[in-house]
Every structure is written in structure tokens, then in C-alpha cells.
């Protein structure tokens, strides 16, 4: 199994979620995060005090999937989250050893 973390632009969330649902992914978890990268932030000025805000609002999607569909998942995210503009984000994949569904106690593939 794989634990896939994707950082994407906030307004792409719905598209990505729909793409993944279409693939058969039944669950995912979303976090509001702030990203630092090539995409520039903005400046705010308050009575002459200037603040450079280097961080840009991003959405982090975490989704655990069976290894078989990991590639399809990555591809779908890549396709759906792409705007072609700087700041589109990244996908990170780590190996996932074990999964439990709390309600039923099911584990691993059954729990996804």
C-alpha cells in the first residue's frame, strides 16, 4: 500500500476529489496548509509597516491506496490539479505498512 500526499492549489480540490472517486478511491483527508516554493507570496502594508508574506495557501490531500492503483492515483492527481502555472504543487509517495478502519477493526486492503 502507498500513502500519497499531494500539495495542490485550493481551487483544484473538487476536481481532484471527483477524479479520485471515479478511480474508486473511497476516502481521503484534506488539510489547509501554506506552501513555500517558486510561487511568490504577497506584500501587506499597514501604516507604513510592510510585511512580505512568503507563504501561499495550498491544500494538502492525503490518501492511502492499494499499491496496484497508486500509479493511476498519481496520474489522476497530476492531471486534475494541473493549471500549468507555477505553484501547481507536488505529490509525495511513501510506503504504507499497515491500515486499520477504526469502526470495524478491518485492516490493510480491507480498510481502504
Amino acid at each position: 500500500m502507498k500513502f500519497i500526499t499531494a500539495i495542490i492549489k485550493p481551487f483544484k480540490l473538487d476536481e481532484v476529489r471527483e477524479g479520485l472517486t471515479a478511480l474508486g478511491v473511497e476516502g481521503l483527508t484534506v488539510t489547509e496548509v501554506k506552501g513555500f516554493g517558486r510561487q511568490k507570496g504577497h506584500r501587506e502594508i499597514y501604516r507604513g509597516a510592510e510585511y512580505a508574506v512568503n507563504f501561499v495557501p495550498k491544500i494538502k490531500i492525503e490518501v492511502a491506496v492499494k499499491s496496484e492503483i497508486a500509479d493511476a492515483v498519481i496520474e489522476t492527481i497530476t492531471k486534475k490539479a494541473k493549471s500549468g502555472q507555477i505553484g501547481d504543487g507536488k505529490i509525495f509517495v511513501v510506503p504504507l505498512e499497515h491500515v486499520v478502519r477504526i469502526r470495524t477493526g478491518e485492516t490493510d486492503a480491507d480498510a481502504l
Binding site: 501587506e44 502594508i45 501604516r47 509597516a49 510585511y51 508574506v53
Partner: protein, 485 residues
């Protein structure tokens, strides 16, 4: 003096000395005691067109014989005018609205989230504290006749407000009950110390705040209010201050500057992000200040008449002009017209028109607003960073500078056709400007010196500032055990 005060590198000793000197100088200039408080601006009105103005004194005179034996020197028999009273009851509510929730929100919206409750609570606590102090002794010190010391301070005739009977008025305003006059003035005494809190936002201990404000009210506000409104020596000198530009704003601004200098900068000032957490609160606050200021300025006519009307119109016009003026200057220099800039400009305009509201005509008000917006922009955005003091929310930059600008411009734009009591440079009386500056110097110096002494006394006893850890954790949690979730 003003420029001296703004110089953070000026040694404190020099400041104290200058103050002491100015005070000494002032004393002989005011050696005409027993002056009845007849010419205080607050009562001024063009006598002719207001028919009710003629009647009350007559009635008052008729009633006085019976009531006279029990009246204190500052009091008069009540010659009730219901319309005037209705407006003054309303004005009192409006001025209270300025502090809570107006100023509380204006300031709270500009600080970081961890200090928002505590900042708003400072205005709220000051409201409660000053109310009680004013009822016990503050009103008496400011507005009764001090007898031998009348030039400098009132007496104790209204200690605990005793003697403020149902048929009594203050001689400054005989058409309304003294209870209304007292409460109206109370709301001024409330907002003045609350304004100061902007200068030391985010770092004073709540306990120190309460003690500081208690001392400051009695030792700074009450005397200065007495000099200007209570029949003290500044009245006699011909200083024009319609609704409290000097007593309230200059005074609070100077005190704020001294606080900022004595307390020092916030931890992280200049390096950490201290962006205002929620300017929408500040916008609500500034809006309520604007609306409430109608009570402050038009209420200072102490009547519902043409003087109140022109004061309201002038207030509205100067405020709008200053908001636009700050906005335009900022747009030019910073490329964007910030919301905080518009709000700040509006408040600067309100401050600057305060001494002028009942003396100038609408075009005078327009000029005052345009000038004040631009100058206060310079004060809050440029001067502060130039000189390096941390007047966190620009109590000095807006109220001190705006108060001084307004006082001087009152000396420029006052017209005797608006108010027979005052005429300024454009009315052919260029000397008024000097009188206005003199007023600023005396009140500013006294305020600076005494504020400094109070702060020092507290600093070396209970301490003024929270610890660095507390400051980092925020005042909400450390001072009040609460926070915004």
C-alpha cells in the same frame, strides 16, 4: 514643544525640566482667580437666532431667589429645555458608544489575535473605572469652583455628587439638569484615558493599567479639563477649544507618546509580523467613532440649536475630507489605498475638527480635514518609523498630532459669523494662532511631565510591563485567562 516631544532621543530630564519651566511661566499669566466660567466654548452660541437662549436665563433668574441658598458656586437653577435635554441625553449615549464598543474594536482589530480580547477589555475596564472615579471626585475637581485655587483645580462641592439635586443645573448649561451635564462630561473623561491605550498596546500589565489610569485621570485629566472648561486659567487666555481637541486628544496623544517611550518597544518589533489580525473590527470601531463623534462635537453645543447643527456638519465634512486625503497620499506613496488608511484618515479628521467644530464654517472644515489627513499620515507612517518609538496603534500619531493640527487650524479658520466667541486668522485675527499654540504648549507640557512621573512611580513599584514570556504568549491568556477560539 511638539517637535521636542516627538524626539525620542530627547533626554527625559530635559523634558521634565521644560515642563516645569513652562508651568512656572504659566502661573503668573493666570493670576486672575474667581473668573466665572462664563466664556467656556462649550456654552457658546450665537445668541440672536436662538429664541430659547433668551428665555432660560430669565426663568433661571426668577427661580434662583428660592433655590439660591443651597446652590454651590458652579451651579445654577435648572431652566429646563426638554429639546436640549433630549439631545444631551442622546449625545451622552453617543459618546459612550465611541469608547465601548467603538474604540475597543478600533484598537482590538489592529492587534494580533492573542491580544484582541485584552485590548478591547482595556477600553471596557477604563469605562467602569473612570465612571466610578468621576462620580466620587473627578467631576467635582474638574467642574466645581475651587475657590482660592479655582484657576488650577476645582473643589469638593460635588464629592460623591452630593447636592446634585433635581432642580439644579451647572452654570455652563442651565437648560439641562446637572445630572445630564455631569454624565455627558463623564463620557469625555472615559474616552481620553482609553485613547492612550493604543500607544502601549500588547505590553502593559492589566493591574498597572488600572493604577496608571486612576492616577492619570485625577492628576492630568481633571486639572486640564478644569483649566479649559471648568473656569480655570486657560479659559481666560482666549484659547479656543470647542469640544476638547486639547483636553482630550492632544492630552491623550502626548500621554501616549510618553508611555510608548517609557515602556519601550514590543518584543519582536521590526522583525516579527505584527499585522493587524482583523481590520473589519477596526472598521466597525472607526465607524462607531465617527457616528458617536456627533455626540462629542455637536453635543458640545450643550443645546439642540444651530451651533450643534453646524458642529455636526463640520464634523462630517472634515472627517470625510481627511479620510480621502490620507487615502490619496497613501495611494501616491504606497501604490495602494489601504482600508486601514481610510479609517485612520477619518479618525484624524475627527480629531482635528474637534476644537474647531463650533467655530468654523464648512469650507474651513473641509480644509482642516484635508490638511489633517495628510499630516497625520506623515505622523503615523513616517515620523514614527523615523524616530523609532513604538506607538503601537498611533495614539500620538493620530490624536497627538491631529489634536495639535486641529488646535492651530482653529486659530486659522474660526469665524465670528459662526460663533461670536472666536475669530481666527482668516477673520483678521492672526493672533489667535499664537494663543492656540500657547494652549498646546501648556497642556502638552503639563501632561508630559505628570504622565512621566506617574509612569516612573509605577515602574519602580509594581512594574508596568508584562514579562517577555507573557508578552509572547499574549495578554488574553496571561492577563485574563481567556482567548478567542
Amino acid at each position: 514643544m511638539l517637535s521636542l516631544l516627538t524626539n525620542s532621543r530627547l533626554s527625559i530630564a530635559a523634558l521634565a525640566m521644560a515642563g516645569a519651566l513652562a508651568l512656572t511661566a504659566a502661573i503668573p499669566a493666570t493670576a486672575q482667580p474667581e473668573t466665572p466660567p462664563e466664556s467656556a466654548p462649550a456654552t457658546t452660541e450665537t445668541p440672536a437666532p436662538a429664541p430659547e437662549a433668551a428665555t432660560p436665563p430669565a426663568e433661571a433668574a426668577a427661580v434662583e431667589p428660592a433655590a439660591a441658598p443651597v446652590l454651590s458656586a458652579h451651579a445654577a437653577a435648572l431652566a429646563l429645555n426638554n429639546g436640549d435635554t433630549a439631545w444631551m441625553l442622546t449625545s451622552t449615549a453617543l459618546v459612550l458608544l465611541m469608547t465601548i464598543p467603538g474604540l475597543a474594536l478600533f484598537y482590538s482589530g489592529m492587534v494580533r489575535k492573542k491580544n484582541m480580547l485584552a485590548t478591547a477589555a482595556q477600553s471596557f475596564a477604563i469605562t467602569a473605572l473612570v465612571t466610578v472615579l468621576w462620580a466620587i471626585v473627578g467631576y467635582s475637581l474638574a467642574f466645581t469652583n475651587g475657590g482660592a485655587s479655582q484657576s488650577f483645580i476645582g473643589g469638593f462641592d460635588r464629592f460623591m455628587l452630593k447636592g446634585m439635586g433635581m432642580d439644579v443645573a451647572h452654570s455652563l448649561a442651565t437648560s439641562i439638569p446637572e445630572s445630564v451635564f455631569m454624565t455627558f462630561q463623564m463620557t469625555f473623561a472615559i474616552i481620553t484615558p482609553a485613547l492612550i491605550t493604543g500607544a502601549f498596546a500588547d505590553r502593559m500589565k492589566f493591574s498597572a493599567l488600572l493604577l496608571f489610569m486612576t492616577s492619570w485621570l485625577l492628576l492630568v485629566y481633571c486639572p486640564i479639563a478644569h483649566w479649559v472648561w471648568g473656569g480655570g486659567f486657560l479659559v481666560g487666555m482666549g484659547v479656543l477649544d470647542f469640544a476638547g481637541g486639547t483636553v482630550v486628544h492632544l492630552n491623550a496623544g502626548i500621554a501616549g507618546l510618553v508611555c510608548a517611550l517609557v515602556l519601550g518597544k514590543r518584543v519582536g518589533y521590526g522583525t516579527e509580523n505584527m499585522a493587524p489580525h482583523n481590520l473589519l473590527y477596526a472598521l466597525i470601531g472607526a465607524s462607531l467613532l465617527w457616528v458617536g463623534w456627533f455626540g462629542f462635537n455637536a453635543g458640545s453645543a450643550v443645546a439642540a440649536n444651530a451651533l450643534a447643527g453646524i458642529a455636526m456638519a463640520n464634523t462630517q465634512i472634515a472627517t470625510a475630507a481627511a479620510a480621502l486625503s490620507w487615502m490619496i497620499v497613501e495611494w501616491l506613496f504606497q501604490k495602494k489605498p489601504s482600508v486601514l488608511g481610510m479609517l485612520s484618515g477619518a479618525v484624524a479628521g475627527l480629531v482635528a475638527v474637534t476644537p474647531a467644530a463650533g467655530f468654523v464654517d464648512p469650507s474651513g472644515a473641509l480644509w482642516i480635514g484635508l490638511i489633517a489627513g495628510a499630516i497625520c499620515y506623515a505622523g503615523a507612517v513616517w515620523l514614527k518609523h523615523k524616530l523609532g518609538y513604538d506607538d503601537s496603534l498611533d495614539a500620538f500619531g493620530v490624536h497627538g498630532i491631529g489634536g495639535a493640527v486641529g488646535a492651530v487650524l482653529t486659530g486659522v479658520f474660526a469665524l465670528s459669523s459662526i460663533n461670536s466667541l472666536g475669530s481666527g486668522a482668516i477673520d483678521g485675527n492672526a493672533g489667535q494662532i499664537m494663543k492656540q499654540i500657547y494652549g498646546i504648549l501648556i497642556a502638552g507640557t503639563y501632561c508630559a511631565v505628570v504622565t512621566f512621573l506617574i509612569l516612573m512611580a509605577l515602574k519602580y513599584t509594581i512594574g508596568l510591563r508584562v514579562t517577555k514570556e507573557e508578552e509572547i504568549e499574549g495578554l488574553d491568556l496571561t492577563q485574563h485567562g481567556e482567548r478567542i477560539h
